[in-house]
Structure formats: structure tokens, C-alpha cells
Symmetry: C2
Subunit: 347 residues, 2 copies
DNA sequence: CATACAGCACAAAACGTTTTAGAAAAAGGT
DNA sequence: ACCTTTTTCTAAAACGTTTTGTGCTGTATG
């Protein structure tokens, strides 16, 4: 159909010049007609469109990008991908829902989404530098990736704020303080009187703010605060360890444990069973993020669903707005959904 | 540092021209020095490298791509992302492990990986057409995405073969026939005498070949073949439905069920419990793909781990080999790992 | 009848590279 | 001193677009 050379050379894609020749107009006119820019007559425009369609012409993205300084691709840099050897991090569920929504949202705006495992590596792909903007997931305090992007004045939106950058407001995410209190209120209304917090060790807003909210809530309700930090990566084993310490120590036993991660929560539940404690009878359990582990545990574990579909969508949309010059201030706060389940005595 | 304009205009990235000027050579020389192409003297080369480093110069990916006809980005098109509304498909676990490995492998070769939800949509991003090559996940028979890419002579590698394209051998994946028999042999060695197959409805190689292997195996062992098809998307509920039909009908009750998907298997297990059947006492269960659901069920479900990390890596590497002109014939067969668990009476 | 002004189309410049083809300089051979 | 070869470097073309500026119609305005 549109092979250019008369000889038997490989079929190269048609260029704007081919369309111009075929339609009997200049390349300028073709470009204008296709982009609705110039002042072409309706007849000419239609003719060009028809020819372009017939040749299955599509502007070469690199040529277009080179000229107008945009690539049409957004970068997605999320921590979980950094893990060496295993791509099954704690947040697998969260990540997948997030990335899927982000990719589809970008698509809806005619943009691509490129996965960039770790922007701080020295051998990152050429292309990572040519991206129009970045979405960075769950930055840690003074995140180096963020520093790099901001220094290079690349538009960037994060999921959750950087605890070390109060002035940076281009982020989307839940109101961790409010959501934490919601869970604690639920536990209290189900009879809990000594709630322990099992937090992670990553220095991100989620951990920082949740602990802050927990302490302030405990103070206000005259409840003793007890916090344990376990690396996110320790997963269920880490949760089980923590549970053993909390439930078998000489301190008064907590009657509820609020775990930040779903896997920690699953570990706590497993350990409680090993200690012959009934859940929710002797112990209430809740998690700060929903996961396969919380949904499928027995009993199922009450958890905050951070609705990553929403944040993936919102993050990409905020980034696109920034790229378009929109400067309405962030952040964009997204409500989480509290999935009440059997581990707190709910349906 | 490298802001180009003397006025207070926005800091634009340095171009090759800036490096040339600063190093006192031509742009050609800079290009050659940076890409190790020309015949520059060692002294000049070093000087250029030093300047480029000082200016933090990086070739603009679009300009480079435009010139040499390569973008440095691979596309990844996987079915699960097509799901509307929910990005939590059956294969979440599989997908994430696959995509993560693929992204990192691409990175290791200095390439980016772009997520392209659905190539058959008309409004796909500009950029999707500019990608160097594609990895397409689990094609269905005569997959339209594949047709499109092959027609456009875009290099493409699939995960699992297209059942309608025997001549297309550029795929990576397990030997479904062999792996299926392995599972059936295991069930038989654990005492199963009537094994039912619970397959999906997608017309891909995985379903097609597994059923074929099952029927031939059953014939060879003089075992009655019984196959049920349930949509993959029906998930655990679908599995439970199927289990009810298989276990409560008037036909002789199967003493083992082999489910293609992990979620179906989890549904079967749940239903078996509701029917007061003990697993593995009264019923053996195995799954054709490992998932969160099989790992975390009680009892844990024996499953084939398709090791998506391996296939993600292999797919990207095969694609890169093709791009480099390597024509060693495919496919690349990857052994699966059989995770024996309590649902078949194993540890 | 000149002037102005739409309306329409186009040539050429620009984006930042890589590559081609060749020139200048240095070195070697008689 | 001259030719040949090798080494080192460079100007200009090319990649496929978009954008800028300009020219050419013809019709309305004075």
C-alpha cells in the first residue's frame, strides 16, 4: 500500500511528505490540516485527511517531539521496583492497581507511561531523561529521586508527600492523619482499650503521619501509646515477630493491634492463632493498607483501602495539568475506604 | 551552571553544540567522542568527555532517536490491563512479577519499558507507534494486536504462542503440555483416580494446550475426562460454582480437581469446605498458575509457578536479540516450578 | 482605480542529533 | 622537495515534524 521505494526495499512508514505529494499540497498544509492549526479551506482539509487516512499516516513521534519539545510519555518511578531479585514486594497489589490505573489514564490523554525502576542508577535508559514528567511513588524524606528531578526542572508529582519537603505540594494521597484516627475510632468502638501500633521503618509520610496521628489520638483518649517498628520488607514473618513481642511480654497485653501493612497484619494474625488467641475475641486486628493478605486471611482483616486506582488516576491527571500550565495548588487529598471485616468483629 | 541564555530565561538543557563550543571542537567530534565512533585522538576524546561531564550533557533522546531510527523504548502490552474499571485482574501477581522483571531487564540494556494498555484502541498514545519493539502477553488465537504489529513490521515477542499462528515462533513460555502432565502425574501419585479439569475460556495457548494434554493423559491412563470451562474473570466465585457442579452432580464425584487459575482453585477449595469435604482427604486440588490465593489458602494449594520473573527477562532479551539482528529461532521454553503444598497431601 | 484585507497556501527555518563525505594536517617514503 | 598514506578533524546533509513568516489570490472598501 504505502511502501515508498519502488524497489523491493523494506516497507518504511509513510512520512508527511508522502501525504503532501499524494494530496497535491505542501507539507505545511498537511501538518495544519492534521493538527487543526492553520487556515486551510474545508475542501483541502478534507482531502488531506482522506489521503492521510488512506496511507495510514501517523506523525513520527520522535520528529514531532523533537520539534515541539514534548515526548508524549510520562515516567513512573515507584519504589517497589527497586527491589533486587524479587519483583514481588510488599506493595504488589497496591502497585499493580496503581500502575494499571496510571497507564490507562495516561492513555486516555494520548500519553504513554514508561516504567523507570530506579532513577538514581547511573545507567538508566536514555529515554528516561526525555520524558515529559514524572510520577514518583511514596517518596522518603528528602528523596534523592525527587531532588534530581526538581533540579532538572522536570515536572513531577508524587504519591504521598515528601516529609522533608513541606513546600512541595504537588502530591496526591490520603489524609493519613484523618484516616488513622478513623481506624483507631473503629477499634475503640469495638471495645479496644489498649491499641498497639505496628509501623514500618521507611521514612515516608505514611509512616510518619500515621504514628503522629496515633500518638495524638492515644493522648486524647488517655490510652497508653505503644509503637513497634518493623521493616516493611520483613513481611509476615516480621509481623509475627512483632506480635510475639507485643503479646507475650510482661507489659499489659494489647487488645488490638493496628498494622500499617497488610502483610504485617497477616503475620500478626497467624501468630495470634499460634498463641491460641482468638481474633476478634481476644485481639482485634486492623491494617493501614488493604492487600491480598488482608482480604484472604481467616478471619478477614479490616483494612484501609487506599484505592490506588484513584490515586494513580489523580496523580497522572495532576501531572498532565501541570504540563498544561495549570497551577492550581496541590495537594489532592483522596479519601480512603475503610473495609470493615471479621478481624474487628464486623461482618 | 549550564544555562545557555545570558538572560534570565528558563534553564534549558545543554546541547551538543554547547559541548562543542566549550571544548573547542566541532559537533561531529563531540558526537564521535561520546559514542566511540570516529577516529579522534585520545587527548581530544578525553577533553570532550570532561566537558560533557562538567556540563552534565546528555544527548536528547528524541533527536538521537529521530536520526538513527530507534527510540530506546520497548512496549509492553498485556491483556490484564485491558480490564475496564478494575486493574486487579486474575493475573495481578503474575503481571507484576513479569512487568517488574521486564522493566529491570530492559533497564539493564539501557532501554525503557512502556506500558501500553491496549494497542487496538484508536486513541492510543502517539508514542506507542514509535517504540522499537513489543512484548505482547498471552495472545489469544489470531490476536489482533499481533496482527497489527506484524503488519507494521514492528519486532514483536509474545509470552506463550498464538494458537492461530503456528509459524510464529518468537515467543517465550512454558511447555504447557509437559507441565500439565507433570501436575496430573503428581495428583495420580497422590492417589487420584478421577481428575477433573477446570479450565478458563480465553482462547490462548495456555488453555488450549493444557486441555489437550489433559485429554491425552486421561486417555493414556484410562481415566474419564471431565472438563469445565469458567471465565478467568469469574475468579473465586466462578471456581466455587464449578466445584458445586462437579462435586454435587449425579456423575461420580472427582477425587481431584486441576484448576488452570489460582483464583479458580481458591474458589474450589472454599466450596469444598462448605460441602464439608476435607482437602486433601476427600479431594485433591492443584492449580496451573501460582498466585497469592494458592499460597495463602488453608490448606495451601499445590500450583505450577510459571516463574514470570524468568519469562519477563527472557521475553525482553529475545526482543533485544531480534532488534540486534539475531535470528536464532524461537521459541524459548522455560521450565515451570511445581510448588507442592498441603492441598495434595504434600508438606 | 488604487488600497486594504481577508483567505488560502507554501517555502524555509528550526528542533538536536548522527552520519557521510571529504578536507587539512601530520607522518612516512623516495 | 615531492608524492602517498595515515591520522585527525569538520562542514553539511539527513531524520520527520511544527512553526514562522511571506506571497498570492480575489473581493470588498474608499
Amino acid at each position: 500500500m504505502f511502501r515508498m521505494s519502488e524497489q523491493g526495499s523494506p516497507p518504511s512508514r509513510p512520512t508527511i511528505r508522502d501525504v503532501a505529494r499524494e494530496a497535491g499540497v505542501s507539507v505545511t498544509t498537511v501538518s495544519h490540516a492534521l493538527n487543526g492549526k492553520g487556515t486551510a479551506s474545508e475542501a483541502t482539509r478534507q482531502r488531506v485527511l482522506a489521503v492521510a487516512d488512506r496511507l495510514a499516516y501517523r506523525a513520527h513521534p520522535m520528529a514531532r517531539g523533537l520539534r515541539q519539545g514534548r515526548t508524549g510519555v510520562l515516567g513512573l518511578d515507584m519504589r517497589p521496583l527497586d527491589a533486587i531479585g524479587s519483583y514481588l514486594p510488599e506493595g504488589v497489589d497496591y502497585f499493580m492497581r496503581f500502575a494499571g490505573a496510571a497507564a490507562v489514564t495516561a492513555l486516555d490523554h494520548g500519553l504513554g507511561l514508561m516504567l523507570v525502576p530506579d532513577l538514581t542508577r547511573s545507567d538508566i535508559p536514555q529515554y528516561a531523561h526525555g520524558v515529559d514528567g514524572y510520577v514518583v511513588g511514596d517518596p522518603v524524606r528528602d528523596d534523592p529521586v525527587l531532588t534530581r528531578l526538581i533540579d532538572a526542572s522536570v515536572p513531577v508529582v508524587t504519591v504521598g508527600r515528601d516529609p522533608g519537603r513541606p513546600a512541595f505540594t504537588d502530591w496526591v494521597g490520603p489524609d493519613d492523619l484523618y484516616e488513622t484516627k478513623r481506624v483507631l475510632d473503629l477499634l475503640r468502638s469495638r471495645g479496644a482499650e489498649r491499641i498497639a501500633l505496628l509501623a514500618g521503618t521507611d521514612d515516608n509520610a505514611w509512616n510518619v503521619d500515621s504514628e503522629k496521628a496515633y500518638r495524638s489520638w492515644a493522648r486524647r483518649h488517655g490510652m497508653p501509646a505503644r509503637v513497634l517498628h518493623i521493616p516493611e520488607a520483613a513481611g509476615e514473618d516480621g509481623g509475627a515477630d512483632a506480635a510475639r513481642r507485643l503479646l507475650k511480654g510482661r507489659q499489659p497485653r494489647p487488645d488490638a493491634i493496628y498494622c500499617q501493612t497488610g502483610r504485617h497484619a497477616a503475620g500478626v494474625l497467624a501468630e495470634a492463632h499460634r498463641l491460641d488467641l482468638s481474633v476478634p475475641g481476644d485481639l482485634l486486628i486492623a491494617a493501614g493498607s488493604d492487600a491480598q493478605q488482608t482480604r484472604h486471611a481467616t478471619p478477614a482483616i479490616t483494612a484501609l483501602d487506599l484505592v490506588p486506582e484513584e490515586s494513580g488516576k489523580a496523580a497522572v491527571e495532576l501531572l498532565i495539568a501541570r504540563l498544561a500550565g495549570d497551577t492550581r495548588p496541590g495537594p489532592i487529598i483522596l479519601p480512603a475506604e475503610l473495609r470493615t471485616r471479621a478481624s474487628t468483629g464486623d461482618a
